[in-house]
Symmetry: D4
Subunit: 203 residues, 8 copies
């Protein structure tokens, strides 16, 4: 783990006990801490050993801010279409913030109501890097890629009914827009997108 | 085959000889004739038995117009993004016309240059039914579905590189926009889309 | 949302609280309201703020009829083979009705007992547009497409055992009948099919 | 190889030389010989060593009838929808005949023109076992399974455009009709279906 | 439903109430009754309206024997490798018996211990038709197909870990042995296999 | 097309005539020109109308440099493992250069000979953004992602035998390394990766 | 079961009763016993009939050591990247040990922190055969295959989020490194890998 | 490349020129040389610079034996079922021999004629390691895994028609037999299997 970076723990598939002892060890160091895919139980235990721990229930993240620094001037725009994509949005937001970035959230701008997207275009274009998160609206990445000149990182989500096949449709749809400045991360990987965007935002 | 309808022959997988004798038989009746997926060789043979036969090389169709009637007042809009989708566009156009429909072709309106699409929005909205044909730009069906109130028939095409997987990506992408009045036909099936649109246009 | 259209809310992936407050806001306007994929809990909360709300438990829909207008003269035929497809049938029926359409339901007409289908052929042929809903009996769309001259919208369902693979088999099977006036919507998407059919029925 | 059975050679992936020397060896015995997936070149060489060899160009089979016995009384019905399925049909026919079976071929009876199928129903029902061969019309197996009380062996074919995916769609579609007396063999496997049907026909 | 045949009901996706009323109606007729994919709750309700109902918990079947006739002389061999395939075995056994067939069950004869299979070869070869049921041991169908001269119906099962992908591996593996008299039914479809075998056994 | 940017034409699926007339039109403007997926024939025709056109046979690109400006100070590192990935490498290199970027090519650094990769680590780490191109060595993206702190854009290629399935394996493998600053573009999409990298390199 | 080998029982899909009576029977013989995929309930019952039974909760194995022999001199290295792969690691460790092998466990050596892997390289290279277990880090098998000259057996695991698709991504990724001495077993099959490694370790 | 090992070049996707100059360079060293996936043209050029080069046309390998050492005492058994698998067999044989191993080839022992396999069982069991190569007969790996106590390396091949899907069926089938000492390499990867087997044979 690089100096200055937060310590990160991915909680899925770990027991509450494992999470607790890993974070206990992390607390002996001086870095910020981010736990992703953390459930309520894990938070309770973490809070009991560190009162400053903050839980984002929707994003399933625990954050412990040990070093407070002013965020970047430039910002990351995080764009999403549907309420069902919000857990991934929140994971991305928390990750981006703990990594020290200013973030602008633009949600509820799906393809069906494209005017809502256009109303927010200035704030999207003002970002240094854009994250687009979508399940059934994989087309959103194509559209935004065509409208902005900044790097766009697309996150397919596994939500959605029918032929989304656990995010595969959104993934394939997003890969097909790679000619216009879009690149793609793994399904539901809000963390990875934000980590990536943070590197770019700080270049 | 219903009276008044054109006789249709699907040439793929048939020999030139088979195509010739089927069309010879069709010519004994009084209907218009449409041959799809026909190659140049087939056209030469057909022309030798029917001088009126017309060939659309891009769309790989042969048409024989035995009964000329005025087309419908209402029209079918056929929209496509890329030049590589043109063979499917032409198959759809020829099918729609021989079935007696007025057709408006709106091409080169991809997602990346969305302003070109908006410039054509009036003519698309003026149609009674819209066909959207796209390979790498499967997102186009979503966008148009969100912008028009008419039935939209989407045709995924197999063109495109990378993860289009023979049209599968476009197909899945289009299926995910079915909430806004879009329905989908088989990959590359310009004929099926136009046949379908013709039924609707004549309701 | 267009004037005169019902307001639609898709409840899957939303909390009861979210559903409640969205519908509370919708009730301030004068349109009919349709909630799809709604569970019993959601209905109870909605009923507590609007006594007129009606729940279709099988179809998982809540409907609130604020404007009662006479339905269309022409009707949408909704055809299904098996009892396990009934939830999708009911979602389609409720959607079609709240959109102001007359609906005829023809169920239990699978491929195995094709005579039952033929007994209902007149009522199917009398429709302006036909919806076919099937999981294991994807062949039904092909058969009906071959028998009627009206637009047919096919809905693959995810029910069924073995190699249906969450609706994929039915989907592929239905796509292969697109030459006879059939188009396909997303797996289990009764709402999308009915929305689409309504547009056509009102042309 | 069991006594009385024909010797069978599958030519795909073999050189002309290999085919020749294998058949040369087979000719030293007294059984009938069947070569499948044989091209014209192979036939020429085989004919040069055995003037009785007969070639079915469409079915890509070479047959050498060394023992002529009267065929079975009961017959195998081989049913297909489209002309593009004919190669598989012919492979099945040749296989069934060299194995000593009476065969009835019923072709051009697709789902779209279901009346043509009903016109042939008596001859299909009269068979002891039925083979259904279809690519785009996988639904045909379901329909026939529902109409006859005999074992039905379905052969998906790889022909067809769009989302047939090399026969996969037809395969899945056919598997979904297994409740009505249908079982399925491998894609394009006319030989396997006929071999199987022959065992049943001779029970 | 044909006279003399049992009435069959597939319970998956039906409510206990639906099952009860369907069977109540069936009891008004004189045929045997078979319910597949029935859970314990369904059995209790059925037993309360028909004391003769018998439940096979492993096979999840309910059977009501209204007409007792002597079974066939010839028998169906039902072969399986692993204990985890037993539910499908039992579904097949119950189906075959209620359809009036003599059945021989040969289990625990996997590929790894091939000598156990050879020890049972006589009884397998003595059958008129053989059903092979396997998940991880899809190879078993190939082996038995190579060893017997009778029609073999293979049932892939969805059990197994790792790359069985819900039965797909077993399915594909079994399809590749279709040259030796094997045909395949849908994944886990013990009913379909037995129904099919019964037709053949009674030819 | 934005001012200052090169005009880009994707030649696959276009006729030589189409390519010629499109480039003729582009030449009337003042921008650099990049043609991708161009074959030798296309180049000959283009050269006949513009003597300055340069062809990269391996990368299948035509470039016409109308405005020569000094490249960026910071550079894009383009890393690849195998000689079979070179066409995609060259497409990326040409794209990056015509967009005005300094490029460092690091090839023949596969996973099997990891010491060759480590020998080049300084030059990779010195880049502002890294492109990793690999077919059978999808693991390379993971390794480099773990070793550098810069944004890494991974391009799966379709080359390779066996279970690479047209690039799918490499694609999936690369998606699984998205936690360490890697994002992915479409299979074989050297252009898209370079376009994306150029945006980042110029931030 | 061969003499001297442990008796093995795979518990998944078996009832507690079945497991108990199988192990009861095994106890009448003199071999060591290994139960895989065993849950806590099963252990309790087994312990009640054999106090010596030992449970590895993480690896879900029960072992009964009836014959204690000194393990091999040469050892099997079992390498894994993430804590979520530990259940498969433990299954492999228990299997290898009960089969009489010395085992060295090297965990937490993912691709992202490749220096941790290099720190352990000597102990990995010292093994006679290496097992690599990874879900999201399929690349690990490639890297180790490139670094060691011993046979490497790779186990893809189904853990991981996003596009791992139940282990498929890891599987495909691992198959692509087979040129450097790596071979692959089924997803999550720690037992199979260890059984295989044991054969090699004892050569 | 390790000392004493042959230099290996994989020719697919390389030009004749590239192959020539790589081998020219290799010839400056003292090791044996193996070129895989080499076509006739490549051989002619190589022969012109090294008269000792030997070509295996079926296996598409070029070998140059610069150091002749006695092969191992223990041997590798290479087993295959069909003639269409022979190219992969020959690639494996050539690879194993140039690596210094004694090889026994056992071909034409498919599942359908299992007695031919049993006739060769002693020679298979006598090997130190076994390679099984099969396309349509993926079951062969399971059977041999069950019959021998040595490590078995299975190579799925892409030959075969129908649902083999480029080797995928054979691959999945082989993965399901990993419990009995079988591990799997990539589709058609005769080289990888032999390289792997050689490591084991020399332990
Ligand atoms: N939500 C997430 N999605 C994907 N990867 C993550 C996520 N959160 C953390 N990671 C990665 O997982 C690593 C921590 O894994 P672990 O050591 O198992 O807790 C981090 O360094 C990240 O690379
Ligand atoms: N391009 C096409 N794509 C798909 N289906 C087609 C096409 N052209 C014709 N068809 C269908 O194929 C039928 C004719 O098939 P055939 O009798 O084999 O020539 C027509 O009635 C249409 O239903
Ligand atoms: N059952 C359904 N299946 C698919 N899409 C639906 C369904 N019900 C509603 N929708 C779509 O979802 C939109 C509402 O989504 P939301 O704003 O997230 O509640 C509607 O306008 C429809 O386009
Ligand atoms: N037939 C083959 N199949 C798979 N991999 C091979 C084959 N032949 C050679 N290789 C691998 O390819 C490497 C040589 O690749 P290259 O440097 O591109 O010629 C060898 O060291 C092997 O690891
Ligand atoms: Mg852009
Ligand atoms: Mg719309
Ligand atoms: Mg129709
Ligand atoms: Mg039947
Ligand atoms: Mg047999
Ligand atoms: Mg990094
Ligand atoms: Mg190695
Ligand atoms: Mg073994």
């Amino acid at each position: 783990i690089r100096v200055g970076y937060p310590e990160v723990i991915y909680c899925e598939g770990k027991t509450v006990e494992q999470v607790k002892s890993i974070i206990e060890f992390m607390l002996t160091k001086d870095n910020n801490i981010l736990a992703t895919r953390a459930n309520e139980k894990m938070y309770e235990v973490v809070e009991s050993i560190c009162a400053d721990a903050r839980y984002n229930a929707l994003g399933r993240t625990i954050t412990i801010q040990k070093r407070e620094e002013p965020p970047t001037d430039s910002y990351i725009a995080i764009v999403a279409a549907g309420t069902s994509d919000l857990p991934v949005v929140e994971e991305a937001v928390e990750t981006a913030r703990i990594l020290g970035n200013r973030v602008e959230k633009i949600i509820d701008v799906g393809v069906a109501g494209i005017h809502r997207l256009f109303a927010k275009l200035d704030i999207i274009r003002g970002a240094k890097v854009v994250i687009v998160i979508a399940g059934m609206e994989g087309a959103l990445a194509s559209i935004i890629g065509g409208l902005v000149d900044k790097p766009v990182i697309a996150v397919p989500t596994s939500v959605g009914y029918g032929a989304n096949f656990g995010g595969l449709s959104a993934l394939l749809s997003m890969l097909n827009s790679c000619a216009s400045g879009v690149s793609v991360v793994n399904i539901d990987n809000g963390f990875g997108a934000a980590y990536n965007a943070s590197i770019i935002n700080k270049l």
